[in-house]
């Protein structure tokens, strides 16, 4: 059962990733990107990490893919892209991807992932929280600062100078 699901997820993820790159229609490409991100969420489910999987769905599929979709809908493709059909570039890209994947795979296989136990129960999300506020607290504070900085930056960017104060909504 798990093997079949794994294979199906692999096909969905890789297939929709290729489709996302190769589709002529940008909308269908971004829908395929959603398929890829959803497939990765499925992998997290298979790995007994529902917490990460649901956040993957909520954040990546629910927000980031929507952002991409929305942006794509508002642009005219002809104005920003020039179609360049270049076989050399294509094969170079495929070769580069293969090199990256083989080297990443070598790193993974070398990292002792083969000796991992697979029947462990799912990690309790409370443990994740405890780890965050004890051992990994500098990372948590750093992330908080970065997020606060980005939110402040977005607010500064979004503030329009040409709007009079009485036009603002109070």
């Amino acid at each position: 059962m798990a093997d079949a699901v794994f294979l199906a997820l692999t096909v969905i993820t890789i297939g929709s990733a290729i489709a996302a790159l190769e589709m002529r229609s940008l909308i269908y490409g971004s829908i395929a990107l959603m398929g890829t991100l959803g497939g990765i969420a499925g992998f997290f489910f298979l790995l007994d990490a529902p917490f990460v999987a649901l956040f993957q769905l909520a954040v990546y599929v629910g927000s980031i893919a929507v952002l991409i979709l929305f942006t794509v809908m508002l642009v005219k493709r002809e104005l920003i892209f020039k179609k360049i059909e270049d076989r050399k570039r294509k094969f170079a890209g495929i070769g580069l991807m293969l090199v990256v994947m083989v080297s990443l795979g070598a790193v993974f296989l070398d990292s002792g992932i083969k000796t991992i136990t697979t029947d462990e129960p799912a990690v309790d999300f409370r443990d994740i929280g405890t780890d965050f506020v004890t051992y990994y607290w500098p990372a948590l504070i750093l992330m908080g600062l970065i997020l606060a900085g980005s939110v402040t930056g977005a607010l500064v960017l979004a503030r329009r100078e040409d709007v009079e104060n009485d036009q603002r909504v109070s």
Binding site: I27, I31, M34, P50, F51, L54, F55, L57, A58, V61, G62, S63, A65, V66, L69, F70, M73, A122, F125, R126, V169
Partner: protein, 437 residues
């Protein structure tokens, strides 16, 4: 004098009836029975009274009505029943249908109109069925330049997302379709699918009104998701769990709205925005952009979107009940079933009627707790739905910039206030370990 059927002949009428009967029997025995048998052989059958329920035994049971109760009980414990009927789709669709009718009737009364009146003689009680038949029989018109695959898929995806949302809602103790540990996170993930479906449907219609409506819906839903998630964090903090059943069970003494009223108010307002209800119905503003993102949908496609919308409304109201109003908890008001009827039979004068299999179904499946929990859950949910419907008769629509301003500044601020209240309650020892609960 006009008659309904001028060429009526009794002999031909009888002949046609006999023809129909013969053909029905023939088709049923040649195709229907083998099909039923094949299906029965494929489905894994339950074990009843230590005896595997083979298709032959099932037919024997069906001939004797008193022996069918174990089959009913075995069916009620299957996942299929939970998905299709009770805590899942059927139950939610029933409440959604009731909501549509009550909304129309109540809105009419609020505005001193009559509302649905003629269909079904009594206060237009059959109006909904009439509307449904009309929608099913109407032609589905696809715009010529629409993106057809997405346009066809969008209503189905909308209903599917709403049904996935419904599946996470616990109705009574143990009666939930998907009792996942991360129920609340699952809710957040499912809510994230609605704007995608909406904007895809709006874009694929290739028309201006749906596209404007879709962009408005996207803005509104995505920006109100943030205060929605933040307002529910307070409940997670005081309960320490994300499982919706456990959250509902943790409110056996008092509902969380007593301690977290700010979060409940923020959640209620964001709920109105996510549901596109008045005063936040900008995506469907009928006086500005025809019907918003629903403009090009026709026939049963529109019907499916409406079904999904009201399923979503039920699910949000139920989520409010589960998180803030105590879910199924309430005083035990359902009387216990007189068990001697099940064990000894009903005495009516000289006759004693004994129904076999009634005792296990009453003590295991349809228990007193389940009935009581369902009753309280439905009562609270209907109350919340009433308060969702009520603003429609009272408030005007607000502008899109006011809406976004409300969501991004005021509601997020209030949600953080709610989080600090929850933290203070936990750290002061009022709630949590050592506290009240």
């Amino acid at each position: 004098m006009s008659v309904i059927a001028p060429n009526f002949k009794l002999s031909e009428f009888i002949k046609s009836i006999i023809d129909d009967v013969v053909w029905t029997i023939l088709i049923l025995s040649l195709i229907g029975l083998p099909a039923i048998m094949m299906v029965l052989f494929v489905i894994p059958m339950p074990v009843i009274d230590g005896e595997l329920l083979t298709p032959f035994l099932a037919f024997t049971y069906l001939a004797d009505p008193t022996r069918t109760l174990p089959i009913v009980q075995a069916f009620m414990t299957t996942d299929m029943f939970k998905i299709m009927a009770f805590p899942g789709f059927g139950f939610a669709a029933l409440i959604a249908a009731g909501t549509i009718f009550i909304e129309r009737k109540m809105l009419a009364k609020l505005q001193l109109r009559v509302g649905p009146f003629y269909c079904g003689k009594v206060e237009g009680i059959l109006q909904l069925m009439g509307d449904g038949l009309k929608l099913i029989s109407k032609e589905i018109i696809i715009p010529a330049k629409a993106d057809k695959p997405i346009f066809w898929a969008a209503p189905v995806l909308f209903v599917a997302s709403a049904a996935a949302f419904v599946a996470l809602i616990p109705v009574a103790p143990g009666w939930v379709v998907a009792d996942v540990d991360m129920g609340l996170l699952g809710v957040f993930a499912v809510i994230g699918f609605f704007p995608i479906v909406t904007i895809l449907s709006a874009w694929s219609a290739n028309s201006k009104f749906p596209f404007i409506g879709g962009i408005r819906a996207l803005f509104q839903m995505v920006s109100f998701e943030i205060p929605l998630i933040l307002s529910l964090l307070g409940v997670v903090m005081v309960t320490g769990t994300l499982n919706l059943s456990e959250i509902a069970a943790s409110q056996s003494s008092f509902p969380w709205i007593v301690f977290l009223p700010v979060g409940a108010i923020v959640f209620f307002i964001t709920m109105l925005a996510e549901l596109e209800r008045i005063p936040f119905d900008l995506p469907e503003a009928e006086s500005e952009i025809v019907a918003g993102w629903l403009t090009e949908l026709s026939g049963m496609m529109y019907g499916l979107v409406q079904l999904g919308t009201y399923l979503k409304l039920y699910a949000f109201a139920a989520l409010f009940v589960v998180l803030f109003l105590g879910g199924w908890n309430g005083p035990m008001i359902v009387p216990p079933f007189p068990m001697e009827i099940a064990t000894h039979g009903m005495e009516m004068g000289p006759v004693t009627v004994k129904i076999g299999g009634l005792a296990p179904i009453l003590s295991q499946t349809i228990t007193q707790e389940m009935l009581n929990g369902t009753l309280w859950f439905v009562l609270k949910t209907v109350g919340v739905i009433f308060f969702i419907l009520l603003p429609r008769g009272v408030f005007p629509r607000i502008r899109i910039d006011m809406l976004l301003n409300l969501g991004w500044t005021k509601l997020i601020g209030l949600a953080f206030v709610n989080i600090f209240i929850a933290l203070a309650l936990v750290y002061a020892g009022v709630l949590g370990p050592g506290g009240l609960q």
